[in-house]
Every structure is written in C-alpha cells, then in structure tokens.
C-alpha cells in the first residue's frame, strides 16, 4: 500500500514536470502564437508559473485531486471532462479484447498441453511464435486492407461512433476490428504462458493420482490443473495491460475511435499540452492500479505467494 502511494506520487511528479520539458516559456508554448496577455495571466495563475516549483506542484496536485485538471486553451473545454468522455471507450475495448484473448488462449493452451510436441501443439506453437513478431499496427492495417476494403465494410469515424447504451449493435460493430487486433497480441502471450505451465503441472503427482481415480481428462484440466497453472497467466495479464494500452492508442487512432488514445494523439498533434498531461497522468495511474489489482487476485488464487 505504501509502495502504491509512493509509485503514484512519483507518477504525479513526473506528469507535472512534463510541462517544464517544453522549450522556452511554457505559457507561450501552451497558448500558441495567438497568446493574448489576458490568457497568459489566466494560465500563469492556473499553473502557478510565477511561484517556486514545489509550490507549483502543490497547487497543481490539489487541483487535480479536486477533479480539476485545467481548461484546454485549444478546445476551450475542461480536461477532466474530455477524459471522462473518452475513458469508457478504452475500458470497453480492453474488456472486449481480454475476453476474446482468454476465451481463445485457455482452451487452445489446454489442447496443446494434452499432447506436448504433438502435431496440434507444433502448429499452434509455430503460429503463436510468428504472431508474436507482428506488431498491432501491422495487424490493423492488414485487417483494414483485407477485410474493410476487399469486403467493402464501411469505415467508421469519430463522429459516427455510438455509445453502447444508445445502440449496442453498432457500438460492437465499430469495436470489433480493434478488439480483435488487441486480442491477438494478448492471446499469443497468454497461450504461451499457460501452455508451458499446464505442461509442468500435468506432470505433478496429484494429477497422476486424479488420473488413476479415473477422473475424466476434461475435469482434470479444468478442476485440477488449471488453477495452479494460472498464476503466471494472471501475472502476464497484469504486465500486458500497459502494452495493451499503447497498442490500443495506435489502433484507436488508425480506426478513429474516440477513446483516450485517439484523444491523446490528436492532442499531441494540436499541441494541446494540458490535455496530454492529464491523459498521461490518468493512464499511468490506471495502469499501476490495474497491476495492483492483479497482484491482489494472484494472492487469492495462490495464497502461498503472500506467505513467502
């Protein structure tokens, strides 16, 4: 817990300090060329730029903790509001892709582990290794090339994006391609990790015991072997989240899905630095929290870990 707070503190200092990486007077850079003295004064007050740096940090962090991340001078809308609108899309995308990845990786890993080095295992092993070397941005471009263009499926844009609650069919349709793309990357990792752990677990004595009792293969896999083999799987899922987010950024940008990634990249292109800073902060803290939750779940699945 102390560790978690420490990490979040380091992240907040890091995100805060980003503004000072800008060359020259941050106020001028943030406001762009059309900076009026009036706007400059507002920004100076908002960021507290005329005070010493530690005081600037405290002003900033207390604002952030009150849900106020400033107002973007580019779009004239509040940073916190923009993030709140985009965040659900990321969460939905991540949820969908993880469901897909687990739903394919777990049964296939079990199938492979049943006969290691058998024909099915070899084919799956070779193809998962190949997929490991295909970055998500190539998958998405190839998918657009072969599915959207060849089959004539129309491209969705940020303006045509519909939320899940207003029309869930259209919503799922527009998220299908990005979710599949992100799922491929996760699938490869989960499949490989779970396969090798299952093979190791299946050699344990309690499995031989279960077999000798005449318990069916299927039941042994799901009830006896799966749980002790899932620790590394959960660990890799936790680690995977960060990479998934970054992959998600590119995928969102390419398919114009207005989640945090899309918002971040348009903000970078428009030099909307306050929005970039806000998104970096929210996403970093989110990743750390998700990792923390996964550590917690691992402790429940395998209580030996916390006792060590």
């Amino acid at each position: 817990m102390v560790m978690l707070l420490g990490i979040i503190f380091v992240i907040s200092v890091g995100s805060f300090y980003l503004i000072h990486l800008l060359p020259g007077d941050p106020a001028v850079v943030i406001l762009g060329t059309g900076a009026t003295p009036q706007n400059k004064l507002i920004l100076y007050k908002q960021l507290g730029l005329n005070k010493p740096i530690y005081e600037q940090y405290f002003t900033w962090i207390s604002n952030v903790l009150h849900g106020n991340m400033g107002t973007s001078f580019i779009s004239q809308s509040s940073v916190a509001g923009t993030i709140r609108a985009a965040l659900p899309i990321d969460l939905e995308l991540m949820f969908l892709s993880q469901i897909l990845a687990f739903a394919t990786a777990i049964p296939l890993a079990m199938r492979s582990a049943r006969k290691p080095d058998g024909p099915v295992d070899r084919i799956l092993g070779a193809s998962s290794f190949t997929l490991l070397s295909v970055p998500p941005f190539i998958i998405i471009v190839l998918m657009v090339l072969f599915i959207s263009i060849k089959l004539g499926i129309p491209h969705t844009g940020p303006s045509s994006y519909v939320t899940f609650s207003s029309d869930w069919i259209v919503n799922l349709e527009s998220l299908a391609l990005p979710a599949i793309t992100l799922a491929v990357g996760s699938f490869v990792v989960y499949y490989r990790v779970l396969r090798s752990d299952l093979i190791a677990t299946l050699q344990e004595e309690f499995i031989t015991m279960a077999r000798s009792k005449g318990i069916s293969q299927r039941r042994i896999m799901w009830r006896h072997a799966f749980r002790p083999s899932s620790v590394a799987l959960l660990g890799s899922a936790g680690v995977n989240i960060g990479g998934l987010l970054a992959g998600g950024f590119v995928v969102q940008y390419l398919l114009a899905i207005p989640g945090l990634g899309y918002t971040l990249i348009t903000a970078i292109n428009m030099s909307d630095y306050l929005l970039v800073q806000g998104i970096v902060l929210v996403v970093s803290v989110g990743v750390v929290l998700i990792n923390f939750i996964f550590d917690f779940i691992i402790n429940i699945v395998d209580p030996r870990i916390s006792r060590e």
């Binding site: 560790m3 990490i7 290794f129 941005f137 190539i138 471009v141 190839l142 960060g242 950024f249 970096v280």
Partner: protein, 288 residues
C-alpha cells in the same frame, strides 16, 4: 587449490546442450544481411529513396523497381533498405543505453547485496511500475523538436529498470555458486570476479534478452512513427512507411506489404535467435 577449482567447474558444466538448428543460422544470416544493408545503404547500388519520379507513380513490383514505387514515384526497395537504418539504429542504440546503465548496476547489486542492493532495487521497482511506453510517448511529445538521438535516449533510459531486473536476477543465481565462492577464498579482487567469473556466465542470458529487447524497441519505434513521434518524413523508417501507405491502401497495397514484411521478418528472426539461445543455455529462471 587449483585442482579443486577445476573439479568444481567440471561438476558445474552443463550436460550436452540442445543443438541450435538450421533455422537458427538462417535467422542469423537474415539479421546480418539487414544490418549490412542498413550500414552500407548509401554505398549499395540503390536508387535514391527520396527521388520522386512522377512518370512512374504506384508501379507494381518489376525489374526496374524491384518492389515497385509509391504514390510519389519513389522506389520502395530503396526506401525499405534505408528505412531499416532508423529501426535498427533505434533498437540497437536504445538497448546499448539500457544495458550500459542497467547491466552493470544489476550485476553490482546482485554481487554486493546489502543496503546498496536494497535501495537500488526499490527505486528500480518503483520505476518499473511506471508504464514505460506511456512515459516515452509523454516525454517525446513534450520534448520538441523531435530527433533520432532523443528517441534513442528516451527509450534507452525507459528500458533501464527492466534490464536491471533481468541482469540482477541472472547474476544472483550465479553469484552463490561454488566457483564464485572459491574465487573469493582465493583472494580474487571484486573486479576480477565480476569481469572474469560472473560476466561470461550471465552473457548468454544477457545476449538473448538483448536481442528480444531490440525487437521490442523496434516495434515501439514503429508505433511511435504511427503516432507521428518518430523521425519526420520524408526520411523513411519502416514504421512511417506503413503509416504513410495507409492513405493509398486500396490503390497500392504493395506499399504497405513490403515494409510490413521486412519489419515482421526482422522481428521474427530476432525473437527466434533470442528464444533459441535461451533454451540452448537452458535458462529457466529469467522470465521476460
């Protein structure tokens, strides 16, 4: 005493290693070919990657243009070869920085232990929790203007905690072995133990992680190029070639296929070599 040492090293010697196989050497050859191509791109008989020939726009693969031309009439083959320069430079450069800082620290921490190790490891684990990819995107988007050296530096520094962890774990598993203790008893200096005893033994793990790390960094550079955070066009890189090709996907699919293929094959070979080396030296305790 020296006989005792010899005996110890005999006992420690692993059983016969798994052979590397023909695929391994094909991959080594492919990586070498790419690296040579990247280094000697301006000496090789290639067309100018920036020359725009508007009389031959979007030509398919053929004799004159091996991979065809893009929407501005530039030779795709030349651009793919020149593009490998950015990818390989970022991959190798960033990993050299990461290993240059992370590896010595990891070895020292694992060898010395004590307070030095504790403080350093805590700091590194805090840094490791910070999502490195997001940190890289953030720093690069604020730190204008963009340049190759900055990209290498930022990714390199971001990789230090991970390299530190891998090398520390690897060193720890060796630092307690008998031959290290024997060397200590013999009065070998710390420097000698670190350089002559520990370094050769963690080198295989290091090299295998280095190769997989380079592949990861190259992927990251590609993603950065898509986000407009890598080198600026018209300088070709595999990432920005694929990104630019998106707009003419329907008219000229070769434009996206060739750089994608070059990138994926290179990554596949690096991953394969790294993976093979790891299983060849039978390292199981280091999980990436």
């Amino acid at each position: 005493m020296s006989e005792l040492l010899e005996e110890a090293s005999l006992v420690e010697r692993p059983e016969k290693n798994k052979p590397l196989g023909i695929l391994f050497w094909i991959c080594v050859g492919w990586v070498a070919l790419n690296v040579i191509g990247a280094i000697f791109a301006n000496v090789l008989p290639l067309q100018n990657p920036l020359f725009e020939d508007f009389s031959a726009v979007n030509v398919g693969p053929g004799l004159h243009h091996l991979f065809g031309t893009d929407d501005l009439g530039r030779d795709i083959f030349a651009r793919v070869v020149y593009g490998s320069r950015v990818s390989i430079a970022v991959g190798v450069g960033a990993m050299l920085i990461g290993f240059g800082i992370g590896a010595p620290l990891g070895m020292l921490a694992a060898y010395r232990r004590g307070r030095f190790d504790m403080v350093l490891t805590t700091v590194m684990y805090v840094l490791l929790a910070f999502p490195a990819i997001i940190a890289t995107i953030a720093v690069l988007s604020f730190w204008a203007p963009r340049a190759l050296a900055k990209i290498i530096l930022v990714i390199g520094l971001a990789s230090v905690p991970l390299v530190y962890r891998v090398i520390r774990t690897a060193t720890m598993s060796i630092a307690t072995k008998d031959y290290i203790i024997a060397a200590k008893v013999q009065g070998a200096t710390d420097r000698r133990i670190l350089v002559k005893e520990l370094l050769p033994n963690i080198a295989p793990i290091g090299v295998s992680f280095l190769l997989i790390g380079i592949a990861t960094v190259i992927t990251l550079e590609g993603a950065l190029a898509f986000l407009g955070l890598s080198v600026n066009p018209p300088t070709p890189s595999w990432g920005n070639m694929i990104n630019e090709a998106r707009t003419v996907l329907a008219e000229n699919p070769w434009l996206v296929i060739f750089p994608s293929l070059a990138l994926c094959l290179f990554l596949l070979c690096l991953n394969f070599i790294g993976d093979r080396l790891r299983s060849h030296f039978d390292v199981t305790e280091v999980k990436l």
